[in-house]
Amino acid sequence: MHSSVIIFPGSNCDRDMDVALKKFGFKNKMVWHNDNELPKSDLVVLPGGFSYGDYLRCGSMASKSKIMKSVINFAKGGGKVMGICNGFQILVESGLLPGVLLRNKYLEFICKNVFVKVNSKDNSYFKGINKETLELHIAHNEGNYFCSKNQIKEIKNNNQVALHYCDKNGKIDENQNPNGSIHNIAGIFNKEKNILGMMPHPERMIDQALLGEDGSVFFKNLINNIR
């Protein structure tokens, strides 16, 4: 299985993602933002970081970079595209996912482990995951998911929510909402569910020596589903 991780100026989780993808069997290539064409890929990952220094709005500059034309074509043709953290911000700014990520409600940068509940398993990303909740890491200043009333209706109707912030037992309420996201949303899909954006970083949880191993659960499952 071939994956591609896009490097934007200011990306800083690109190499972590590279390590994670390779660990679970992907043949990964790093792709520079100024390239025109994607290499042959079964999965394209937009990594976390601070592309273009978060100028203007997080992800807004990166969403207009050269390689994104190719990524958008790939995604619109059904290709699997996953954006983590800043990658999620780039996906909403490029219009591949609905909504937007605002500044965290309490204006603080949040860096901690959280629990997320998998909302939808009818897709390549979570199909086959046995755990109801995953412990993953978040590190962001703009993770407050927001969209219009009509958009949230549509997202709910199409079951496009991927992950909700919850407690370790899977209970979803405002106390478990780290950043003010509407309906505790931590990740969403497009309608067809080939595009996933999420704030938590699974690539940070792939070894016991790191923060935990629920990221391993995610990647093992992912490569099985893409195969």
């Binding site: 709005r57 807004s60 700014e93 609905p98 605002l102 309490y106 204006l107 927001f146 969209c147 219009s148």
Partner: protein
């Protein structure tokens, strides 16, 4: 021609920075404030002498990059 444009958050979008600025203004004695909303201001020098054409160009820039229309409104406030 220099075109000035402001970008503000839409009414129903929470503006936590505006709230904090409001509280801080209260804290230093400005207590007659209903609300503070923070926005962005751009001054764009367009290679164009026609006012209408310059403003149209900047509006297009707002739609394509400067503003995110899910949460923001833009307004051209002048050109010279």
């Amino acid at each position: 021609m220099k075109v000035s444009v402001i970008i503000t958050l839409k009414k129903d979008v929470l503006d936590p920075q505006g709230k904090v600025i409001h509280q801080t203004l209260n804290g230093i004695g400005f207590d007659n404030i209903n609300e503070v909303r923070q926005g962005k201001y751009f001054e764009i020098d367009v290679k164009e002498n026609d006012k209408k054409k310059s403003e149209d160009k900047v509006e297009d820039m707002c739609k394509k990059l400067l503003a995110n229309l899910v949460i923001e409104d833009y307004k051209v406030i002048g050109s010279q």
